[in-house]
């Protein structure tokens, strides 16, 4: 018996501040002017995408003690630009990455509830954590959080915001002019929450929004991150876009849901994916190689080596062999504000793997970096890319993809114009939106408010 055909979910990641984005391309536009964001979002909506995705960073990256200048630098405030995008789109979901470490629940809850109202139910929150004192230098509390507490804080932060969202049931605004009753419940918005991280009480001031709560995304890949997602998220922004890795991740995370009393359909797995489309597969492969060279300039290749070697390699020849010295083990002091360097858990072993590969394939340092970092997920003709995506989704490697173009803001055009129609012809992607909210697009139900006991007390203050 064959299983039913799955519908694919597609989203668009506004190109970010790393070397995936080819700012040197003549077609590359602004990363900060609103017109770029508007064009990108409207393209995604023309393609009937589920949502737009924005990343966030709260401190400019540094390498060798200086602000990193080789990638795109600078981005807008997440909430503010999403609220503006709500004005120039009608159905597209608006997903923002917001840090749970350098914010407070009351603020974040009112911003997401406001965004959900102002967009007619299209808000989503990608919950991320950080703990580093480097980022903390921009905030009142500084680097206050120990690394091993970051998920604990994120979990309680999310739970606290959900209590704030649920402090309004949704029927309190009577606005009865004749009777003079604006609020049907004098204690609307009452909340009280106390745990190791938050001790807050009072009145939440944003009435329940169209989606009840924003859709929750989670992006961490660790065991703790996966548990966090299984317990509390509606979708995961993962990094496993190949068949084998995707299936392993999918099986693992979906398997955790039952532990939290949740059904397999209540959590969507959406890996990030890059793509290059050509008229033919061969042409796409050529373009993909050129894009990789643009993504890894000679200067960028040296910076990548430094991130693994954890030492200054500014005199190293990018067109020569890999460094003969070994990486400096221990805390990475060369690169700050970059999550990827934390994945280099055993830098000497990785360096030895890279040396072996470079020797076997006769690669220079730069060519090696081109090979080992960031090859595009989907390369081919529109037919090939559509078939690949559909095969991966039907094989349960994912429920869809968050596409990351390498050109701003036009990098989505070819996909929307050439690949989306093929997916629509196959009947695996919507021909038009059937609902108005992001929950509608993702097939997620509207959450019921769960009012806390505090909400029913006459004072709204914790007893």
């Amino acid at each position: 018996m064959s299983k039913p055909t799955k519908q694919i979910h597609l989203a668009a990641h506004f190109p970010g501040v790393n070397n995936t984005t080819v700012w040197s391309d003549p077609a590359a536009g602004s990363h900060i002017e609103f017109s770029s964001f508007a064009q990108f979002a409207q393209t995604a909506e023309r393609g009937k995408f589920d949502f737009l995705f924005l990343a966030e960073g709260l401190r400019l990256r540094e390498q060798n003690g200086q602000i990193y200048d080789l990638d795109v630098v600078g981005r807008p405030d997440t909430f503010t630009v999403l609220a503006a995008l709500a004005a120039v789109t009608e159905r597209l979901g608006l997903t923002g990455t917001i840090n749970s470490t350098f914010n407070e629940p009351y603020e974040v809850a009112r911003q997401f509830a406001s965004l959900d109202h102002l967009s007619g139910g299209r808000a989503a929150w990608n919950v991320v954590t950080s703990w580093d004192a480097f980022t903390g230098q921009n905030f009142r509390r500084g680097g206050f959080l120990a690394e091993d507490q970051r998920y604990e804080r994120a979990k309680t932060f999310l739970r606290t915001t959900q209590e704030l969202f649920d402090s309004w049931r949704g029927d309190e605004i009577a606005a009865d002019k004749t009777a003079g009753v604006f609020l049907s419940d004098p204690y609307a918005g009452a909340f009280a929450h106390k745990d190791a991280h938050f001790d807050i009480h009072g009145r939440f001031n944003v009435p329940r929004s169209p989606q009840g709560r924003p859709v929750i995304f989670q992006a961490g890949d660790s065991n703790e991150g996966r548990d966090f997602a299984a317990a509390a998220a509606d979708a995961i922004f993962s990094r496993h876009s190949t068949l084998a890795e995707g299936q392993a991740f999918y099986t693992d995370v979906k398997g955790r849901l039952a532990r939290y009393g949740r059904h397999r359909d209540e959590l969507l797995i959406l890996p990030a994916a890059t793509f290059v489309i050509g008229d033919t597969d061969a042409e796409a492969a050529d373009i993909a190689h050129d894009v990789r060279l643009a993504q890894v300039s000679a200067q960028t290749a040296i910076k990548f080596l430094e991130q693994l070697w954890n030492r200054d390699l500014s005199d190293h020849d990018p067109d020569g062999p890999l460094p003969t010295v070994d990486p400096v083990v221990g805390e990475n002091t060369i690169s700050r504000g970059r999550a990827s360097v934390r994945m280099f858990r055993d830098s000497i072993a990785i360096a030895n793997d890279w040396r072996a590969k470079a020797e076997a394939e006769n690669l220079t340092s730069r060519e090696l970096i081109v090979e080992v970092t960031g090859r595009q997920s989907f390369i081919g003709s529109p037919q090939t890319v559509a078939a690949t995506i559909n095969d991966l989704v039907q094989a349960d490697a994912s429920d869809g993809f968050i596409l990351v173009p390498h050109i701003t803001p036009g990098g989505l055009d070819a996909f929307v114009d050439q690949v989306v129609p093929l997916l629509q012809e196959r009947g695996v992607f919507r021909a038009d939106y059937t609902g108005t909210t992001l929950r509608d697009h993702l097939g997620l139900s509207l959450p019921e408010p769960r009012r806390s006991a505090a909400a029913d007390s006459s004072t709204g203050v914790a007893s």
């Binding site: 040197s24 900060i32 002017e33 609103f34 960073g57 709260l58 401190r59 400019l60 602000i67 200048d69 080789l70 990638d71 795109v72 630098v73 600078g74 981005r75 807008p76 405030d77 909430f79 503010t80 630009v81 609220a83 503006a84 709500a86 004005a87 407070e104 009351y106 603020e107 009112r110 911003q111 406001s114 109202h117 102002l118 967009s119 921009n138 905030f139 009142r140 509390r141 500084g142 605004i173 606005a175 002019k177 003079g180 009753v181 604006f182 609020l183 419940d185 004098p186 204690y187 609307a188 918005g189 807050i200 009480h201 009072g202 009145r203 001031n205 944003v206 009435p207 300039s297 200067q299």
Partner: protein
Amino acid sequence: MSDPSSPFHLAVALDGAGWHPAAWREADARPADLFGAAYWADLVAEAERASLDFVTIEDSLTLQSDEHFEPNDRTDRVRGRLDAILIAARIAPRTHRIGLVPTAIVTHTEPFHVSKSIATLDYVSTGRAGVRIQLSARPDVAAHFGRRELPHLSIDTIHNPAAQQQIGEYFAEAADYVEVLRRLWDSWEDGAEIRDIATGRFIDRDKLHYIDFEGRWFSVKGPSITPRPPQGQPIVAALGHGGASYELIAGSADVGFVTPHDAAQAADIVGEIGALQWAAGRSRDTVHIFGDVVVFLDHTPQAAQSRRRRLDGLAGAEYRSDADIFVGTPAQLADVLQEWHAAGLSGFRLRPAALPHDLVQITEGLVPELRRRGLFRTAYEADTLRGSLGLAHPTNRYATA
């Protein structure tokens, strides 16, 4: 004191269904729409039709209350609101010339976040952003954050030395906050993005600057993650009623909202803030002083009076305000504003008692009257809010060239 023939500026303060607590019960009020974008878009579009300088949008980090320093449980008033900065951002792409000045509460929020929010509002509005700085002295608001205990203040004890010292500290924190906003806005020089393909550099990092602010309430390293906004420095505004609030306006703001009750008071306030401005070393900066006035406007004085009485009756109490309350015709209001403008105020922030009624009286009654008198622009003359306010593109404090 400004020349009576100097440009006359006009702003409108938007809050819920209007400033009168019973405004939401008027026939033309839209209380069920307060939590949607269309309501705010319609109001700002109406203000823009009359070429007003800007709108402000009120905000708070708790439910509205009839009490100054504590919550109350009334259900016959508008309760609940959306984040003002996000309302402004939602409206920005659908308007073209009008300035957008949302309120930011500085006592509990992060200057780093608010700096990039307002910078981004400036990007999405292509140069029309400002921010009205407001502090929060209420213990119940502090309990929403759980990070600091604030002493309880009350109207009866507000003039005690201890209370005054506490309030002075809130304003000192607000001044530090504005300093951080301004440094972060300057932390990228104009032209820092170079896209130099030969060297592979996207930015010239010598044009990015650590702000290294260290103060009693927060320290902020910088630079901002958001490049310098189109206006360089978005407009900073604050409301003041004397004392420390005037020091904040004089030392930190571009626009101060004040609450005189006659022309003589207006002149005194302008003089007082001017002296503080000089003492703060800002005598060469323009600080616009706007008079705040609550307005009930109708075609006849009798109609305006009876509407006010009717609203007071619905509310069960006479409406009071920190600002002067004007009740009458748009032409009568024009007389008052003209006199106060001659006394030295550069403009006015009108608080419509009821929306949309009093806003439409401003756009269709007051503004045409002011134009007939040659006092107010007949169309926008600038693309940016700084431009409308006659402020030049500011030099960057970190630029060396």
